[in-house]
């Protein structure tokens, strides 16, 4: 789960209110999927319970007006998390692969399925390229990240298309 650690990372800059944290999270990481307020306050509540942040109630303000300050333990969590490489996921059982094998086994057109998938992947790459061309550098870098992943799938689709007859033999189709 990256939301708690992302919020901790944002808090490391300076103590903040829940509203400001949500706004910054949405700006930098939301990309069209804003964090619900409920989730922000629930997460901050858990972080406070676990000793990662301290919730300071501001004098004169209502009880819900809290300012969150990261603790040393919270800083240590962020540091450990940042230093840890993200697990490369091998995706050895992709939905794409299952569909191809089942199409072959049932005598359906696996090539037609792969062609349709390829077209859908290229459409997505066009959308991402459009974001790159019109967005900020941050938008472009995120779009590039997505583009490389979609492209990897697409290369697998091309390779699988070229090897369909061999695969058909192996799965007994």
């Amino acid at each position: 789960m990256t939301v708690p650690l992302a919020l901790l990372g944002l808090l490391e800059r300076e103590p903040s209110h829940g509203y400001d944290l949500k706004r910054d999270y949405d700006t930098f990481f939301g990309r069209g999927r804003p964090l619900p307020f409920g989730q922000v306050y629930a997460t901050l509540g858990r972080l406070a319970r676990d000793g990662k942040v301290i919730a300071e109630t501001e004098p004169g303000a209502g009880p819900e007006r809290k300012r969150y300050v990261i603790t040393e333990e919270g800083v240590s969590d962020v540091e450990t998390w940042l230093a840890e490489p993200v697990q490369p996921e091998p995706h050895l059982q992709t939905v794409l692969f299952v569909k191809v094998v089942l199409a072959l086994m049932s005598g359906r057109s696996a090539e037609g399925y792969l062609d349709a998938q390829r077209a859908a992947h290229l459409d997505r790459m066009r959308e991402l390229t459009g974001i790159k061309r019109t967005g900020t550098i941050a938008d472009a870098l995120l779009a590039d990240h997505a583009l490389f992943h979609v492209e990897a799938d697409l290369r697998w689709i091309d390779l699988t298309t070229a090897r369909l007859s061999a695969l058909a033999e192996e799965v007994g189709a």
Partner: protein, 241 residues
């Protein structure tokens, strides 16, 4: 204008629907078939990617569309006119006057300066030298090449040389630009720069582009893709060929 072709008789597209079409085109090199009944239709102003594995026939299809190669059978129609039945001098004039070309390795003339390379299509078309060079220089601004006008190809980076080749392909304001792996020799960033400039310029000018590429990131700059496999055009369900 030539009389109505068999293609028009069968499919009866509206005159402006397609600027360029190949219908059931086959071509063999000796005993080896390169194209086996390939068909494609390109709309005016469309930017089309021709994709496919190595040796699938995608470059051969591009060369047939551009009137460089003549198919053994089938028809190629540009602007309502059969291309495959034209004699070589007429096809050569068509390529010079209506088409632009960009290849993988720029293929600039090393003895000429960058601006002379860009002016080449205009000079071959009969323009006066000064007017051709003046027009060529305008493209140096458009394609981020200012200051490189007098350089020779050996003094340009790969990306710069390819942008000069792009300017040369666009300078005569062709109806169709044919590009064969135009970013194939460039790294990702330089390739993206070339694609950005190619597609922006083509859209500004209303130029149709037929672009051969094996690179999906390049194809993602285009409006539509077709895939050539074993000499035939395959299209995804629901896609036009």
């Amino acid at each position: 204008m030539t009389p109505a072709t068999a293609l028009e008789a069968v499919e009866a597209p509206s005159p402006a629907a397609y600027v360029l079409e190949a219908c059931d085109v086959s071509l063999s090199f000796g005993p080896t078939p390169a194209l086996r009944g390939a068909s494609v239709s390109v709309a005016p102003g469309e930017i089309l990617a021709v994709m496919g594995p190595s040796g699938s026939g995608k470059s051969t299809l591009l060369h047939c569309l551009a009137g460089i190669l003549v198919p053994d059978s089938g028809e190629v129609v540009f602007d309502g006119r059969r291309v495959d039945t034209l004699a070589e001098p007429e096809r050569s004039a068509l390529r010079r006057d209506r088409f632009g070309f960009v290849f993988q390795f720029g293929q600039l003339v090393p003895e000429l300066t960058a601006e002379e390379n860009v002016a080449l299509p205009l000079l071959l078309g009969g323009a006066r030298r000064e007017a051709a060079l003046r027009e060529a220089r305008e493209w140096f601004t458009r394609l981020d090449l200012e200051g490189l006008e007098r350089r020779r190809s050996g003094e340009l980076s790969g990306g710069q040389a390819q942008r000069v080749a792009l300017a040369r392909g666009l300078v005569a304001r062709p109806d169709v630009v044919f590009a064969d792996e135009p970013t194939g020799s460039l790294d990702s960033l330089a390739g993206e720069h070339v694609m950005e400039l190619l597609t922006n310029s083509a859209r500004d000018e209303g130029t149709t582009v037929v672009l051969v590429t094996h690179d999906a990131r390049v194809a993602a700059y285009t409006d539509r893709e077709i895939v050539v496999r074993d000499g035939r055009v395959t299209t995804a369900p629901g896609r036009a060929s």
